[in-house]
Symmetry: D2
Subunit: 297 residues, 4 copies
């Protein structure tokens, strides 16, 4: 007998994730705000419903993978939200990148109703999702985590970070901060390289083959070297949103983090210049411009 | 018939490098300021001499691997320096991390005498040197570079960056800047992790297995997570020296690089607090302290 | 016939302000959370009441001078708050340093009820308040501003900044930002002075007599030079609160302001080290410490 | 019997200074690299000579007021320089803004020859020079300082900072750092003001009348508010030169000064964008641009 999972949010990440759940043998009820997104999944076996609440089975599990705090609040707490339907014993596996504060709030609300909130934000772009190779930071009650293991393993590799949901979100934000910092560092180094009359790509290639032979540098290094900022893999404005959450948390715990402030500034400026929908790597354009270099992306 | 190479500078890097040259079949004359350093190498076939000039063979090649600008000037331009002895046709393979300005100056002086100056600074710690896996940034005249290929390949992997020696040094400094920036980023992320009550090592372990699964993060990540700052693999004060060179160059070409300034400040403060001889990773101690955390390294 | 004014908030600023209103001939009803604060004012003619609502006269004016956003919300929107009592025609003269967001929210709520919200935050310490020399940034509806003129003139010098209340609060935050920036600048300059073996006070004295012969430098310069951080004239943690509001606003309008981030960091670190209740000038202690200097305040 | 003084450097500062010395009754021999500058002064009594050395009288005093380190080295140490001519008992009153390192070097060279080097850099623009109201930071041997008192008093107001000449130069750099920091702070505040839809000049006017009613804010505030960056009162590139000296000194004494780094970056970027010859206040243009605002100076 196969198990059921609800799934809310059918964007570029959600689509391949649902496919992996279907492949793993789950019955999947899906919901997306704009319904057209569901049709390709229906063709391969998913069942489309017309409200968040309807994806919920009695005592069931629901994965949410939506774009921001507002969307998660909407599908959870809204009139047709999943919270009230989930019931005692239900589990909300929340995989979106949202603020630790929202994670905390939703976890409390679930607890009051006898259901569980598992924070499970992920690292990985759509192709990692398709390959079921997402890196998943998981936090929440042990019993609920155990039940969700097979679901998460169908989607990628879970890493367990304890019982407090919001902590998984802090870790996710730390990762994004480290990514953005690496981009700033690459951008500054290549600006100096260019000002010294050298070839940006040749130098970056050395680093991504040796000291920094890892996914983040190998993904972003060539984009920055060639100043190829479209199409966006991850929009710059989403990076700003995450750094804002990161620094909100830092402010709450009194942690002065100057590099985080530096990149927040860089992102703010990029958005102010109308670059928010470009790829995150475009934050490096301002480094070049500040050095008097022209950039023709 | 085997070839000769002179080698000046028998520190923790020079020692294994000379061994690799001997293994590759070179006759190696060695010089070090404090002579005791030479004895172990003499046991395995090196010939110790008592001045920089004496390592030079007619028309020969000399590798220098010394600790800073002053030492390189001394062995090259001093009374018993190699410059005047090298003669037309000789090649100085300069592998130390020195300032681009010194590289430029020495390259000009060699050119005036008909000899060649090849800048060949390296990435890698002593164990990479022992494994002949140094990553070598090479720049200088094409003809001289061709002759030095076998020597460099006995020491590691050369990457060619054109004809102007000082450019190899700029790249080396860019690499060190990127390393130090990564350390700052890791330090800030882990400070937030600790202030949120989570385990530093568990979080760093996630990152070094996934997004940042590369030598720099895997080397420094655990040191920073565990705040294990001795023994020094690379002294913090050397990092400051390199960032100073990096920013001198940036100033000359009018490149404003705020992250470089941020880490310069961090290193300056660390030296001011008496931490200059600790490992470079100790720059992260101040991040913790600024957040009111106690550090017991 | 003399006019009535309500006054809420009898701290070190409110006390002398009420005295000035009494001197100017107003009937003043006063309220403070801890009632003991009212007694000295009752001796000179004020009438103490026991809830915020009770200070309100029909069609009257009420001044609020409380310590933060929460306190202002409480006295305005709470069960015994002034909002519902103020009635059509009433005017709330809000002189506390609060967030522009709260000013906006309260202005809207008043407008819906037919009353007016005048933002009138001030520059000046208690002795300026006593001397009726507060500098007052005023914004709100023209008609209401006209009616409040005599009240404000009894308290100091009003400067008119238009019709939108929250703008007066932005200006107040700009002033505090400039003050804190000046403190950081003085602290850095004097740290260099001390590291060069010179006398901090002698150098500061030159500047406060010449280039910077103005209240902010003359007030803070000697405190910083002598590292005299108690008693607090203005608590450091209040400065952090204001910089947080300043940067919230900057974030909303996409203005990257690196100096503001720098001082936010400095203040965060100072609070993390337990210095939040010291004088604002104590943020400079960390500048000395970062340079390896010991500070014995 | 009137006394003689030599004077080297007849720029916009030197011109009115020589006039004041003539008014005070001194015989003044003047030298300037481009001789045309001398003619107006000859009309009012100065004697023009054709080399630095010729301004020197036996046992005399010479004032230098030139544009940078190179110029001061040239007139002092060059073939026709004043050093060798000054002789035992002579005094070099060095009023240019130069590096502490050069001050130290020249002071040593004078001492070896029995002459004295008094560092006496000034605060004040040409109109302060004309009004004999320069603020002069003086350091050097007590005996020499005493002899120079009347000369300095004819030019402005001397402030004594001890016996080591270079310390006066450090103080001068501290002052310039504080000026540039104040400009950055004003620029950031007004950028926020503008982004909130308010009038820059109205807000600046409040501050320069109250909290910051002093020469620096009153001079630069309106220029920044109106973005009126020409003609240059003090060129932006000279500000960069001074901040570079300031940070060189900070580096030597291990003082991490983040605000100084921030403004160095801002100035570097401004020069990279071709704004080096505009007024110093133009560094604020980049603050506006970073916030996406257009600036039409």
């Amino acid at each position: 007998m196969s198990q059921s999972v609800g799934f809310i949010g059918l964007g570029s990440m959600g689509q391949p994730m649902v496919r992996n759940l279907l492949k793993a043998g789950y019955h999947v009820k899906v919901y997306n705000r704009s319904e057209s997104r569901a049709s390709a999944l229906v063709d391969v076996g998913a069942i489309a419903v017309s409200s968040p609440a309807e994806v919920v089975e009695v005592d069931g599990m629901v994965v949410t993978m939506v774009s921001n705090d507002a969307a998660l609040e909407d599908v959870t707490l809204g009139a047709q939200g999943l919270l009230e339907r989930l019931g005692s014993g239900g589990i909300h596996i929340s995989m979106s990148t949202v603020s630790p504060d929202l994670a905390y709030k939703l976890a409390e609300l679930h607890k009051q109703r006898g259901s569980s909130y598992i924070a499970a934000p992920v690292f990985g772009r759509p192709q990692s999702a398709a390959a079921a190779q997402l890196k998943i930071c998981v936090a929440g009650s042990s019993i609920a985590k155990e039940r969700t293991q097979p679901v998460l393993q169908a989607l990628g590799q879970p890493f367990d970070f304890g019982e407090q949901p919001k902590q998984a979100n802090v870790i996710k934000l730390c990762g994004n901060f480290m990514i953005i910092s690496a981009i700033e560092a690459m951008g500054e180094a290549l600006t100096l390289v260019e000002k010294n009359g050298m070839d940006r790509s040749a130098v970056m290639s050395l680093f991504t083959q040796t000291l920094f032979a890892c996914p983040i540098y190998q993904t972003y290094g060539p984009l920055i070297a060639e100043q190829r900022f479209t199409p966006p893999g991850f929009q710059l404005q989403w990076g700003l949103k995450d750094i804002n959450f990161f620094l909100d948390n830092a402010s709450q715990v009194y942690a002065p983090l100057p590099l985080a402030h530096l990149v927040q500034n860089r992102l703010l400026s990029s958005v102010a210049k109308g670059r928010g929908e470009s790829d995150l790597s475009r934050l490096t354009q301002a480094i070049s411009e500040d050095a008097g270099l022209e950039v023709v992306p």
